[in-house]
Amino acid sequence: MLRFIALRLVKAAIILIAIVTLNFFLIHAAPGDPAAVMAGEAGAADELFLQQLREQFGLDQPLLTQLWLYLVGVVQLDLGFSYRQQMPVAELIGARLPATLLLTGTAFVISIVFGTLAGVMASARVGKWSDTLISTTALLFYATPLYWVALMAVLLFSVQFNWLPGFGYETVGGNYEGFARVLDIAKHLVLPATTLGLFFMAVYMRMTRASMLEVSTLDFVKTARAKGLKKSVIQRRHIFRNAMLPVLTLAGLQAGQLVGGAVLTETVFAWPGIGRLMFEALAQRDYNVLLGVFFVSAAMVLLFNLITDILYRVVDPRIRAS
């Protein structure tokens, strides 16, 4: 197992470098350069000013040199310096990461728990009206644009009823401490996490249902029934565990996207997370920040792939052996 993990880590590192390189070229292909954007923002600009900026950011060097310098930095976990924010990228990302992880993590947990639960329920009542209800609801969530749900949710729960805050991470200037602060953040979390979770909830529901139905046709379920086991025991012990394998794969994929997958939600709910950072960085051609976000997100994807694989090994003895 340790050997496996070590090998996978080496492999991941190599892939990561390749990804960083590709991203680098991708981003530099965009029109507009950061110096011009900043000059534009400053309200006045001349050649001298632009030259200063380019020199400062190292943008006057050949692209390959820039790439090399960047890669050397990345290897030492130095993600460079944000042009616009005048801060190390790692620090910027570090400051935004917790908010994003909180949001997407909560959405992830919500979606996986309720999604699989609904899926199991639907599969147990396959063909009945409750199955139809659950499946149709899931399909609806699945078909609805996330940002639209978000808008409607804000309109309803925040504006109409004023039950929940419609934007932000916490009450700015509320100066809450300890538990009050946790509660405050939790309140802010409800709407975005639920909206973000809805879509994935639907995905998990559909997947779980299909997988449960699929597994329940397998031979060993018949064996289990022939033993005289109760239906609930069979559902739980035999069907559910086997049905979770594909769900696990999906969960791994989604977990990987936790970092960069919430651009829309973060935008609509003004959530100070990575997704928004990325979007703003893109608009400002703040290359290093953008690359940094992609780097972190790719690293996250690879990390979660690894975790999924390890989990898979724990859950499925067949893979452990091969």
């Binding site: 000059a39 400053a42 600009a45 400051a95 932000g168």
Partner: protein
């Protein structure tokens, strides 16, 4: 009577890149940092100077010597004493290197000296009419010499913790969330400021900003921070006031760049047709909530030396069609770049596109984000493009730059981007800048305006009215032509 205490919750949009006003002078930076840093003067709504760091000043008869007498009990936020040396350092050393706009003004200056700790003297090479207008916070912010002298300004660690002389001190900046300023207890004017603290909330989404105001999280929405569509609803709320004052100094004027070099827009008749084709009153009402004013001239009506004696263009599609027929417009499509600054601008471009298509001009909209827009404009890669620029109170500071031929050059979206060349106009602007008397200047500027409105180098749209929305119990928020950029010094909150 003003009451001390209280907190202001203000929206800041977009999040500024930095709060070091000496290095970055864009709108959001100045809005926050204008309360941290100060300059020598402020200006009232008629653009007459008011004291700030300078309690009094004199201009010599020949218009060549400006002498400022500074307050003598001023301290930097870190406790160090402020003196005339700081002013000399800022204007002559620091800003010359970092402040593009001021740099060109300073070309008229021969020397800056500090005869004593409380006096600063600017000597000019020749008379320069607008010079009294450059002592505003965003134009000449005074930075601490003891922190910056001899350092690399751009990477000085103090940039992350700005130190100024202003009524409020920097406390913290949680990126993506908020900026907190607190009262400067040692402010040199007794009793000021009144407020204890200011929270600047970063809310990236316009709709959320409106909601924030409605739900009471926010007390003040500076101009431009909510979409215009929301303005009437927000101002209709209880205890909600609105003002469009506070933008006189900046005088934002919007127009469409028209590429004078090539394509149909190179033809003066086409450009005039564009002016006639646009229904600017409709845009003002539907998109700007009726605020602002249809622009008739390159000079904003609130700016000095505006003249009414010019060619005016009303909404007249027939006239536009005639002009197009006369020039023999062949239906070549023109590319239109909207300003990527939010929904209002987007809608506006769509409306204008419709206006133009109705008179037979084929328009192709080109989408781009801020960076792409900047690049396209700077590289002259457009046919028509929305923009708005500041007037800074004087045609020499904010108007001439768009029309004089010496200002043609790729690489900046703020110069003569349209490529208009007219020796007569060049001469008029040159002379007007250094003319000594007001009357002389007015004559020259009027003539320039007449030529320009006839040539239509750009298609003027509106003198923008940016409404500041605030709770009515916030008093004295906007008292100068600089608006809330330096407004919190005098603001106070009255009991409800």
């Amino acid at each position: 009577d003003p009451i001390a205490g209280g907190r202001a919750n203000v929206v800041i949009q977009p999040e500024p890149p930095s709060l070091m006003l000496g290095l970055v002078q864009n709108g959001p930076t100045q809005m926050v940092a204008g309360n941290i840093y100060e300059s020598l003067l402020r200006y009232d709504e008629n653009l007459e100077p008011l004291p700030q760091l300078a309690k009094s000043w004199e201009i010599s008869e020949d218009g060549l010597t400006y002498t400022f007498h500074l307050f003598d009990n001023v301290k930097w936020h870190d406790g160090e004493a402020f003196s005339a040396d700081d002013v000399v350092f800022s204007a002559d050393v620091f800003l010359r290197e970092t402040h593009t706009r001021l740099r060109s003004t300073l070309e008229h200056v021969e020397s800056i000296t500090a005869p004593d700790a409380n006096t600063v003297v600017f000597k000019l090479k020749e008379p320069f009419g607008p010079f009294i207008g450059v002592f505003e916070g965003g134009t000449m912010p005074i930075v601490p010499k003891h922190i910056y002298e001899g350092t690399d300004y751009k990477t000085n660690p103090a940039n992350n913790h700005p130190i100024g002389t202003g009524p409020f001190k920097f406390v913290e900046w949680v990126k993506g969330s908020h900026i907190l300023l607190t009262k400067n207890e040692d402010y040199y004017i007794d009793g000021l400021p009144y407020l204890d603290e200011i929270y600047w909330h970063v809310i990236p989404d316009a709709a959320s900003r409106a909601v924030a105001y409605e739900t009471g999280v926010i007390d003040i929405l500076p101009g431009g921070s909510v979409e215009n569509f929301d303005v009437s609803r927000l101002t209709a709320m209880d205890n909600s006031c609105v003002t469009d004052k506070g933008w006189e100094f900046i005088g934002p004027l919007s127009w469409m760049w028209l590429n004078n070099r090539e394509g149909p827009t190179a033809d003066k008749r086409f450009r005039q047709a564009v002016m006639y084709a646009m229904d600017r009153e409709f845009a003002k009402d539907a998109l700007w909530n009726g605020l602002g004013k249809v622009a008739q001239s390159p000079v904003s009506s609130s700016t000095r030396f505006y003249s009414d004696d010019i060619n005016k263009y009303d909404y007249n599609p027939e006239k536009a069609k005639e002009l197009l027929a006369e020039m023999g417009y062949d239906g070549t499509p023109v590319r239109l770049l909207p300003l990527p600054y939010g929904e209002t601008w987007q809608r506006w471009a769509e409306a204008i596109k419709q206006n133009l298509e109705e008179v037979g001009i084929k328009v192709e909209m080109v989408a781009s984000d801020v960076a792409g827009w900047n690049q396209k404009i700077s590289e002259w890669d457009y046919d028509m493009a929305f923009t708005y620029l500041y007037q800074y109170g004087d045609p020499a500071l904010g108007v001439a730059r768009t029309y004089i031929s010496s200002n043609i050059g790729k690489g900046s979206p703020w110069n003569n981007v349209e490529g208009y060349e007219n020796a007569k106009v060049d001469e008029l602007f040159d002379k007007a800048a250094v003319a000594v008397t007001k009357e002389e200047r007015q004559t020259l500027y009027t003539e320039a305006q007449q030529i320009l409105t006839d040539d239509v180098p750009v298609a003027w749209l509106l003198e923008l009215g940016f409404p500041t929305i605030y709770r009515c119990n916030v008093k004295d928020l906007v008292t100068t032509a600089i608006g809330i950029n330096d407004g919190f010094r005098d603001a106070y909150i009255e009991e409800k």
